[in-house]
């Protein structure tokens, strides 16, 4: 029964909510147990791609079929959801002690898990929409539960963009329903292919709106930074790691299952790629660039990572949009890998926040000695993020580059490289300012996080390296997905992937890196130890420095670089949206002041005027 996967978490949500009122840890424990159950039972579902379930409902005179089915694509997303939820739940068992909205968190988190599985199992628009809305609404509360005012505003922006897009989606879906008499994807795809291409393309673009919003693709990315940056620290990994991906899932559904690519096949093309696909890829490229530049400017470490998420989503979109076997596989790889390393980063940051209570990077420093495992997790994850072998992040980016070079999309490739190189800059910033440098006096007594928080980080480190060495594990399911969607598959072995101009052998690279690492370790252990000097045990230019802060250069880390982009359009995009809303409000206010001025005589006049005007209209017509 596929409904079990959806409704067990949703039912458990209410149990968790009630129990959480009694014991703060109960909710997280239930979340962990439910996710573990989901993961186990989903594993049992592997390979059984024929399971479907449907309900017929005659709802208020509409005959509606609700269809659920498993396929490799949805299975992958469901497993990803369940796996990451276990880790986050484990992590949050301890961290929720001081969390004011602990019960709200567990209630909404479990509903989100359930509705996300509902989304990926849905085979028709209405089921998809219902769970999509459920996910959006519950995540609104979760984001709101974050840091005070900013979180509220972020959640607000998020819900309004999402709702607007979702309503547009609903409209298009109902339009298709009225043409075909069914909400099912299959009949919709048939209809769209047979329909006039212009209308079909319009419909599909509207349908993809909520997915674009959720994936944070330029120009609808404005909610991502504040929402991810201000969400509760336990939720950020999920938000950034998983919820963005569900947008990508939607895009894949639109592109392949609703035959967007098939419809635009014969339209104007650029280098053999339909212009619309290229435009999507271009959006991806712009997303990469804006995300990267804005990440570099950030002083808040969570917002920095949030922007980095935006830019990484750009890679995934590029790969999917260019629609080559390599591109698609690269995107799927990157999608999984991004989930892994981005949640690692957020968990590590959550651990830091758990101990220090701040997210401002310039208020921290030198935490490497106090929180070594957190540091290790963060380091591994940013290495993966920047795409350095032997981590998983390298492989996926490599496959995407291969795909871009294979077709010769110069601009896209440059954008991708730019993003990759610049990501060094921004991920190094937290590394240097939070973990390296001087330990702040107020953080002298900080300890490493408790065991339950260490375990998820440790698992994630191992997974990063595991997938970095054996990408074949991921390629197995990806090729099944490719096969399911009718894309050519890519040749691979357990530790190598066949690219366009050469194969990548990760085992070889891993061995080389390990050798280098061991040599370095040996050198470090046997070379002469450096002497540790106290923080204030020094002077400069004859002047004693009594303030430890001055030794730690962390505020406006990349100031010269920032200046370059100070006037970048991406910043004013938010302003643009805000001006738009402000004008809307102002027009409403004008109307209000003009019409509802509190004058009884005016109100009486309106009734007479209405009569006269309507009578005149009736006379003329």
């Amino acid at each position: 029964m596929l409904t079990n996967y959806i409704f067990i978490p949703i039912a458990a949500a209410f149990i968790a909510y009630i129990l959480n009122k009694r014991n703060r840890k109960a909710g997280a424990v239930i979340t962990a147990l439910v996710s573990a159950y989901l993961l186990l039972s989903l594993t049992a579902l592997y390979g059984r791609w024929d399971i479907t379930q449907s309900f017929n409902l005659s709802l208020m005179g509409y005959k509606i079929d609700f269809l659920l089915a498993v396929n490799p694509l949805s299975w992958l997303f469901a497993v990803m959801t369940a796996a990451i939820s276990i880790l986050i739940a484990l992590f949050s068992i301890n961290s929720q002690e001081n969390f004011k909205f602990s019960s709200v968190f567990n209630l909404n988190f479990l509903i989100i898990i359930g509705s996300m599985i509902g989304i990926v199992f849905a085979r028709d628009f209405l089921t998809l929409f219902i769970f999509w809305e459920l996910m959006t609404w519950t995540s609104f509360y979760l984001i709101s539960a974050g840091k005070k005012k900013m979180a509220g505003r972020a959640a607000y922006r998020y819900i309004i963009l999402s709702a607007g897009a979702a309503y547009a989606f609903l409209m298009a879906a109902i339009f298709i329903f009225q043409q075909t008499g069914s909400f099912a994807f299959d009949s919709a795809a048939e209809f769209l292919v047979a329909n006039s291409p212009a209308q079909s393309i319009m419909l599909l673009l509207v349908i993809s709106l909520p997915f674009i919003v959720k994936a944070g693709i330029f120009p609808l990315h404005i909610w991502v930074k504040d929402a991810h940056g201000n969400a509760p620290k336990e939720f950020s990994p999920f938000l950034s790691g998983m919820m963005l991906k569900i947008g990508i899932y939607g895009m894949i559904v639109v592109f392949y299952q609703l035959s967007f690519f098939k419809i635009i096949e014969n339209t104007i093309a650029y280098r053999g790629l339909p212009l619309l696909s290229y435009l999507f890829a271009l959006l991806g490229a712009v997303t990469i660039i804006t995300g990267t530049i804005l990440a570099i400017r950030q002083e808040d470490m969570k917002k920095l990572v949030a922007y980095s998420s935006i830019s990484q989503m750009g890679y995934i979109i590029i790969g999917i949009a260019i629609a080559t076997p390599l591109g698609f596989s690269g995107s799927m790889l990157h999608l999984m890998n991004h989930l892994i390393f981005k949640s690692t980063i957020f968990l590590a940051l959550a651990a830091v926040i758990y101990r220090t209570g701040t997210t401002k990077m310039y208020e921290m420093g030198g935490l490497i000695f106090r929180m070594p495992l957190t540091f290790a997790a963060y380091l591994t994850a940013i290495i993966a993020l920047a795409g350095i072998p032997p981590t998983n992040g390298f492989i996926s980016k490599w496959v995407i580059y291969q795909a871009l070079i294979e077709k010769g999309y110069l601009f896209l490739a440059i954008a991708a490289f730019f993003g990759s190189i610049a990501s060094f800059m921004y991920v190094f910033k937290p590394l240097s300012t939070v973990f390296l440098g001087q330990l702040k006096p107020q953080h002298q007594n900080i300890k490493e996080v408790p065991l339950l928080m260490k375990i998820p980080m440790l698992i994630l480190i191992l997974v990063i390296v595991l997938f970095g060495v054996f990408p074949g594990i991921q390629m197995n399911i990806i090729n099944q997905i490719s096969g399911y969607l009718g894309i050519e598959t890519v040749n691979y072995t357990l530790y190598s992937i066949q690219g366009a101009n050469g194969a990548w052998n990760s085992l070889l690279i891993f061995n080389i890196f390990s050798a280098g690492f061991i040599i370095a370790l040996l050198l470090f252990s046997f070379a002469k130890k450096s002497k540790l000097v106290g923080l204030l045990d020094t002077y400069s230019s004859g002047e004693y420095i009594t303030d430890a802060e001055s030794y730690h250069y962390a505020y406006q880390y990349y100031r010269p670089f920032d200046r370059l982009f100070d006037n970048l359009a991406a910043k004013s995009l938010t302003d643009f949206y805000e001006t738009l809303t402000k004008n809307l409000v102002r027009s409403g206010e004008g109307l209000r002041r003009a019409l509802a001025a509190g004058k009884l005589q005016n109100y009486a006049l309106y009734s007479v005027l209405l009569f006269v005007i309507l009578a005149a209209v009736g006379w003329i017509i």
């Binding site: 209000r592 002041r593 509802a596 001025a597 509190g598 004058k599 009884l600 005589q601 009486a604 006049l605 007479v608």
Partner: protein, 121 residues
């Protein structure tokens, strides 16, 4: 000519009375005058209703044993019944309105509606 005048003076007069009342509601600032205007409108409508039911050369719709008239020659009694109800309702509304005026006056010490705009927007 006279028939024309007779018929239309009632309709025209009652419509004009309604319009005068409406004009009063829209332009007068004094609350008592607004209510007076409402009363004028009511009177106008009542006049109109009775005029609509009026049949020339007919009798009042009263049956008695002395005058045995043909029932067809009665004025239509239904509008008159309506008007009776309407007069009562109108008076009730006016009474309530005046009570409110007194209450408002207690609070604001003015009858000028344009000075009482606590509720707007």
């Amino acid at each position: 000519m006279l028939n024309f005048l007779e018929e239309w003076s009632f309709f025209g007069g009652s419509i004009l009375l309604i319009l005068i009342g409406l004009y009063g509601v829209i332009t007068r600032k004094n609350m008592i005058k607004i209510l007076i205007s409402l009363a004028l409108m009511d009177t106008g409508v009542n006049l109109m209703l009775v005029a609509l039911g009026y049949v020339k050369a007919a009798n009042a719709p009263i049956l008695n044993s002395v005058v045995q008239t043909n029932t067809a020659a009665f004025v239509d009694p239904i509008p008159q019944a309506l008007v009776l109800t309407s007069i009562v309702i109108g008076t009730a509304v006016l009474g309530l309105g005046l009570a409110l005026v007194i209450k408002i006056y207690d609070k604001f010490s003015t009858l000028d509606i344009s000075k009482i705009r606590g509720l707007k927007w």
